[in-house]
Symmetry: C2
Subunit: 256 residues, 2 copies
């Protein structure tokens, strides 16, 4: 009940939002009750599913920082079975706001506690940072997923991230278990994808999902129509990849 | 003296680091004395210029947060005329650390003050957020530059950013002037580049640099060799684009 999965990587532009939105949509298409929580001030996940800027309040910032009832910060999406708790610019100063709050690493955990029984899955889209919002996502999640682009700066970011997550786990004593690494925007016309993709598999072995998300322009187009990829272009390679990916994620979750 | 240029965009993966590194390198190649300040916990800019993880301390975190003399946090790069103040993971908790500090928005400004006379240009690479490090970069900078990828989520991020910068300026009363928007990773084989690139030019007019940085795999490869693009492959389209871009930036700076 309420299996919570966080999409985490402080490296920017690696496909956290694209993966969160399409994982959530695929799970909803399979008949699960899903909540997508947008923890990014950019509101990328909310906009990708068709919410407009005028329709972002109250959202996750108000539920975590201002004491608004979490249920009041949730909206239906156009996809049946998928609800969203939108992100907004108020999240940009979460760290400053939470700095002096008691149990600042667990505010999201307590906001989501009452909701878990109403959903089968809760998917958390994180901002590209290791600040308190991401720390909160890690302590609320049962599992965390790391999307990575197979290029040099992406790989370096991964090494950073894994160290930092270990430190957070040691510090707070609570964090989801590592569901795995998913290679995104892989472009096998480029040597760098082969080389760095290979190096990541070499170093992290079975922790890397077998399913890769290859570069596919339809994934870049879908957000401007407010649609997940299954809705926008069910037959494209990006949609197939995210359906495969969701299957593999469920298998890994079952293996715990 | 010490003209300071900040690369700012809270959207991740839009080419902030790639632009900061290659702008700084082109300015140094032109004979200017340049300092590149890496304000990102990922240390992408530092690694892109060949620093190793073991060689990041003391860096910008120690100079801004721990009172280390700024001059002691600077190293030479392999490029003559270009020095670096490295980033490190200690920057990840800058917001929490600075939350209670007096004049927290001006700590970078005072750290850089003594250095300005030693450099012609200071280039600031920012993390993908609007937290205190980016606010500090905005208040220290004479000019700020916004790299944007011509896609839907990139464009939406830009609308967000421009609002936020106006608010920061109004709040603190001090921030660099807007040097412009540079389109990065433009791929004219994709409709989305034409469409969104056109929409950005339509909305922001002359604020958008004429020079565009097109997608070029050599730019993705160069960081793994610790080289700027001019050093890695002087004749490639990415190197030409960044030389053109630097010329246009200098022209825009002269026009103030
Ligand atoms: N497989 C893919 N093929 C092509 N484009 C993609 C793919 N995955 C994501 N994109 C595009 O790349 C850009 C970055 O992806 P996305 O915004 O999901 O990354 P992110 O990690 O969430 O970024 P941020 O760090 O800003 O939160 C977006 O414009 C997105 O549409
Ligand atoms: N014009 C280009 N063509 C191809 N690849 C590029 C180009 N510009 C940047 N890249 C690559 O895209 C990735 C993202 O670029 P970069 O790291 O510079 O963005 P950023 O905005 O600094 O990211 P972050 O938000 O994490 O700081 C890097 O792997 C980089 O090498
Ligand atoms: Mg995102
Ligand atoms: Mg960067």
């Amino acid at each position: 009940e309420g299996t919570t999965i966080a999409l985490v990587n402080n490296k920017g532009g690696v496909g956290k939002t694209t993966t969160a939105v399409n994982l959530a949509a695929c799970l909803a298409d399979d008949g699960h009750r899903v909540l997508l929580v947008d923890l990014d001030a950019q509101s990328s996940a909310s906009l990708s599913l068709g919410l407009t800027r005028a329709n972002l309040f109250p959202g996750s910032a108000e539920a975590i920082l201002d004491g608004v009832q979490p249920r009041d910060a949730i909206r239906a999406s156009r996809i049946s079975g998928l609800s969203i708790m939108p992100g907004s610019m108020s999240l940009a100063s979460a760290d400053i706001y939470l700095a002096d709050v008691e149990n600042r690493e667990l505010v999201l955990h307590s906001a989501l506690k009452q909701l878990r029984s109403e959903y089968d899955f809760i998917v958390l889209d994180c901002p590209p940072s290791l600040g308190l919002l991401t720390v909160n996502a890690l302590t609320s999640a049962d599992f965390f997923l790391v999307p990575v682009t197979p290029d040099y700066l992406g790989f370096e970011g991964l090494l950073n991230l894994m160290d930092a997550v270990d430190r957070i786990k040691a510090g707070i004593g609570k964090a989801g278990s590592f569901l795995g690494i998913v290679l995104t925007m892989a472009d096998y016309r480029q040597n760098v994808t082969k080389e760095i993709g290979g190096a990541i598999r070499q170093k992290y072995g079975h922790l890397v999902f077998l399913t890769e998300i290859k570069v596919n322009v339809r994934l870049k187009e879908a957000p401007s129509f407010g649609k997940a990829i299954n809705e926008y272009d069910k037959g494209c390679s990006g949609a197939k990849a995210y359906r495969e990916f969701t299957k593999e994620a469920l298998k890994r979750i079952d293996q715990g």
